[in-house]
Amino acid sequence: MAAKFQPGDRVRIRVGSPPGHFRTPAYVQGKTGVVEVLHGAFPNPESLAHGGDGLPKQFLYLVRFDQTSVWPHYLTTLQDKLLIDIYEHWLEPA
């Protein structure tokens, strides 16, 4: 299994609120960022949280956003970044 994205790729975070546990906060959903680091593949917490085995593993990425693109009224330094870990099934090409 190969990772779909590489550092430097632009990605959009999917929008959704599945019924169980997930680790993609609402404030980044629908926002566009850039892959900073490919951490590797890890058991899927959305499965682990409900008694599952976490398989298939999901690739996990560190994704970088401009704070000004995440928060509409962000007022301080324009260079500020948000860095957040997001699993691959929450990402689509942007």
Partner: protein
């Protein structure tokens, strides 16, 4: 706009400032942490289980509970769900202790 659940606080309207004051933990909070650690070491409760159980607390109750109170509610719910305890057993034990303290 996606539905934002009670634990998903980033950008929460009227959330106010984060209280960054240091505070000491009560003994029951340390014990709660220790119990969770033991249940994790024994592969009974996973971190992801605990998160899911905390996120499943009914929103009004979630707001009323402190951090470790949420942990306690979640640990009890998971131990019942996994068949290690019943709510009746927990309630009975609490009554015993309250009787002892009188």
């Amino acid at each position: 706009m996606m539905e934002q659940r009670v634990h998903d606080r980033g950008g929460w309207p009227d959330a106010g400032l984060i209280d960054r004051a240091e505070h000491t933990y009560a003994m029951w909070e340390k014990r709660t942490d220790a119990i969770r650690g033991l249940l994790g070491a024994k592969h009974i409760i996973r971190t992801d289980d605990l998160r899911r159980a905390i996120e499943s607390i009914e929103p009004v109750k979630y707001e009323r509970l402190s951090y470790y109170e949420r942990w306690l509610v979640a640990v009890e719910a998971l131990l019942v769900e996994k068949g290690f305890l019943t709510h009746e057993e927990v309630d009975r034990k609490m009554e015993e202790w309250q009787t002892c303290e009188r």
